[in-house]
Symmetry: D2
């Protein structure tokens, strides 16, 4: 993607500047003072979806009953793998994010109980950010200059109480074939070094080694070993990560996958590739192609068992108007 797309983005930005000038002087109808930005055509940077201008679920359109039936045929041993990590106040989290839990005993003050059967209960209050621990990033999560999947501008769909479009409550459960790419094995290490950037060629080599091919509708997951650092060296864990490069993001998009995930916190190589912008791979997948991203997946046991194909099942909590969700997908083999 690198050498091709960046100039295009650059051109888009130049166009934006020009439009801004024209628009600023000629736009008496603009309701607010941010004429320069709002006048830009977000479609220059973020295209209208191939699933239509009204589409809100992107690559989830690739999900098909036939793929579900096919994926269930991959179940051999009956072993299940939970891909979600534990989440609590000690979980290393991105930037400002945090997570807090309160356990209460309502109506039980001083040892009080309810009814002749002495009913008691624990009741939990939670407070924090939806981007802590294992998470699903939806199509409204990441944008380019406040423009999101399918050319939706933040000013038109984002509200302080939740997004009005692109909310994850609209995305169906993701039930399809999962494919694991063991990058740690590929690099011959337990934990792939931060900044290591996986190219399309790296991916194809691993696929060949594992005797798997990526098909439309797949969920592709990278095992890097990086999650092993969480709880052991949180500072290093959060400061960088191995992951896909920009070309790999484009490559996976062209494969028409539903989602891409990894056992790290942002999927792509950090520090970013030379010349790459901030989480540009995520923009390619989510913003431009409507492909979901899965973070901090627990992939260790799959890798250990050399399970490279499996039935992947994710039913994510349906909080209205969210673009992220703390999840626990299940791999069934």
């Amino acid at each position: 993607m690198n050498t091709v797309t960046r100039p295009l983005l650059g051109m888009a930005l130049s166009a934006l500047s020009v439009v801004a000038c024209v628009q600023a002087s000629a736009a008496p109808k603009s309701p607010s003072g941010t004429a320069a930005l709002s006048a830009a055509d977000p479609k220059s940077a973020v295209p209208v979806s191939k699933w239509g201008a009204d589409d809100e679920i992107g690559a989830a359109n690739e999900l098909k009953p036939a793929l579900v039936v096919a994926a269930t045929k991959l179940v051999k041993t009956g072993k299940t793998y939970q891909l979600g990590m534990e989440v609590n106040k000690s979980t290393p989290a991105f930037r400002h994010r945090n997570f807090r839990l309160i356990t209460t005993n309502p109506g039980q003050e001083g040892g009080k109980t309810e009814g002749p059967n002495k009913f008691t209960y624990n009741d939990e209050h939670f407070e924090g950010w939806l981007g802590v621990g294992t998470q699903l990033n939806g199509l409204g999560h990441i944008g380019i200059d406040s423009t999101y999947y399918n050319a939706n501008r933040a000013r038109d769909f984002v509200d302080i109480e939740g997004v009005k479009k692109l909310g994850l409550e609209k995305t169906p459960p993701i039930v399809t074939r999962g494919v694991l790419l063991d990058m740690a094995a590929y690099y011959g290490t337990d934990v792939v070094k931060e900044g290591t950037a996986f190219s399309p060629s790296d991916i194809e080599t691993v696929l060949k080694k594992e005797n798997v091919t990526i098909q439309p509708g797949d969920v592709v997951i990278f095992h890097t070993g990086w999650l092993d650092l969480a709880g052991k060296d949180n500072a290093r864990f959060l400061a960088g990560e191995p992951g896909i490069n920009r070309a790999a993001a484009q490559y996976l998009a062209e494969k028409r996958v539903v989602a891409v995930g990894a056992d790290n916190w942002a999927l792509e190589a950090v520090p970013f590739e030379k010349g790459a912008g901030t989480f540009e791979g995520n923009q390619t997948l989510i913003t431009k192609n409507g492909i979901y991203v899965l973070e901090n997946l627990v992939t260790k046991d799959l890798a250990h068992d050399k399970v490279y194909e499996f039935l992947f099942v994710l039913g994510h909590p349906r909080y209205t108007g969210t673009t992220q969700s703390i999840i626990n997908p299940v791999a069934i083999h």
Copy 2:
């Protein structure tokens, strides 16, 4: 207290009183003033688990690879059903519970972006209770006189920041056969009336009609139509519900199911059966038998399609030390 309905519990309490008297006069070393209660043997009311005194996952012990393999064989059409409802600030919730979402744009004040690729993102903060919407109730959720599954006393394992035992993070994903009992069809109505109490005999009649039998390791789900009231008549929705009676709770426990669920907020008939205590059916299932409870499941489409057996997959978020979780299980047929 009640002189009739709970003879076994009554006996336990008499014992408690006697112990209290002995203890109170003979216990100068007691560190706190609640000698009377703490001296009681909670095992009188809540037995030690058949899976051992250290067990923390109860009926999840029934989950077996062979059952997973068998359940995947039930997948015929590839159609998936999400059993989770949307959750937001308007969702009718039990008593004091609430749910609030905040969408923010960190680092984007005044339209600022990050990097040459103009990275922007929406980031959600959530605040509320884990018992809103479709939910999983774990073994630490409901107790008898502050004693919980496997004779665990609240004073020994409950902490303001989460339970130290019985937390749902220890419960594996629930992947097994799901069985739907269409009680609305049985009663010949769209929405079964509140207070309607399902007996073992009712259950057996429905099973026969559906040509299904309950097996150890199953997840049993009741369709009552009650969830249709949520959002239409929240006051009625929360004031009562149809559901199992106490004998049915015992019946299901004897069937060795993993979990029991329904499309209502507390599984059992409310108003409670004549003579029944407060959520006594839940105590039978969760506290005494270590069986999980699923609430507010969206069962409508399963019932409509007459799907009575299916692959049930639940990967619940793994918040450390919680006894409830907002979920979205998937039924696959």
Copy 3:
């Protein structure tokens, strides 16, 4: 944009557009894509403070020991008036705002206590917005096109975890003379009608009637009766209010007051005066002149007792990086 009402601002915006064009073509070094906006000189709309370009407390600079001594001389009867209203989940709140409280008993599960003296305690968790109930609005609260008091741009000082400049923790306690203007008496009603806009002439008439003059360093408070609607007719309460007009905001700024308050939720007349923008009076006071605003003050008893001059004392909670605070100022007479 608007062609008439804000000629000065209009000029600023034209300048902005021109600068944007120049900047957009000539700024390869711009770190982000919002060159157009960031290039604008915010000082066109928001002036540098008369207390210096580094000033962060605005009119609090008017507070002087001599004024404190003088104000204490106003204390005659020793009667105290709390100007703060109760705040809870039923308090009518602006737009998305809410307030929730949880009372817990940590370490007291099942009636447990601490120590031989059986220590127990209630411990409260709070969640909500700082703009609910009686509140102080600081200099970072309200801006013009993301530019705030003393030409501070949001992009330079606002952070998701609190403002880095203009935080209320820097504002000293406000101890000075308070002056009450009984507008309800002036209009001969208990509750002044929504939309009623107080002009400088109205203010001067009331001052004369009350035999008071406004001096530099005063806190000026309007009694309108509007707060009586809170809890009685929340819909009406939030839909409008009587209050100052734009000229009165400018008039009060010229009087060099420290703060202006009222027994309503936004101080100025809503619906806004013909031709006025959105909370333009607040912009005049806070953004352009560094004057604090007090909302939802309980002024009823002061008005009833005809107490028009008093010692005003406000020590606001010092949450770092906030621009609002829920308060309870005290008037002492």
Copy 4:
């Protein structure tokens, strides 16, 4: 208090045990199983208030207009001292407590503004515990065996959404004389060592040295230097503190003060005096005598200026049903 009160408490507990035995066998009408505890007469440990069985404000009854007038006469220089510390996520806090702030820009997504005047604003969401930083502890905060001021039992007035009695919203502003006792000067150090327990005799020596006497209705504040450790050595700060001993708590209660405070987190010496229970001094003041406690006061400047008498003004936020509040009292001299 030590040698006198403890035996009384011991007797109360013996009585409790006896009552429990009698009650447990003879109380068929008890609605729940905690007969032993609920049957005890809490008045054995916590007396009915001298201000009447319905009183909910305790020593605030000592506040009188004459005291207000007298206290204003202490104002000489017009200098104000804010006694509140800054509160943020780094503030060292008791046990499980925390504090988090989120700054948002509602309706300003992508740089959007409101109206022709381009209205923008910062809006803060807060989440945390009311016992962080400088705080007021009310009469419902601390109890003896779940019984609180004026013999109120937790089971009767505590609710998950706030206390139904003893809430701080009922306590009027505290406006009266403040007295500072410079204990750091007394011990000839900047920071008095943890565990140092101030006796009535120590207090009287300091009062004499400062030429002050404690009068009914006073707010008495101890300066120990302990707060200097906050932010420098949080672990030590939270592990102990100098403070009053049990006898001093009783002594101050007999002086009929309204509130007692200090520049530390729990007023009394920690580690506790030999033989003392857990926060027993707080129980004496709050639970038995209805006297308010102020924590983490910033007393440094008062001590530096040798201001030992002053006008004390506290208007605390009126959150309905809370027993604590984060505050910023003002001392005026």
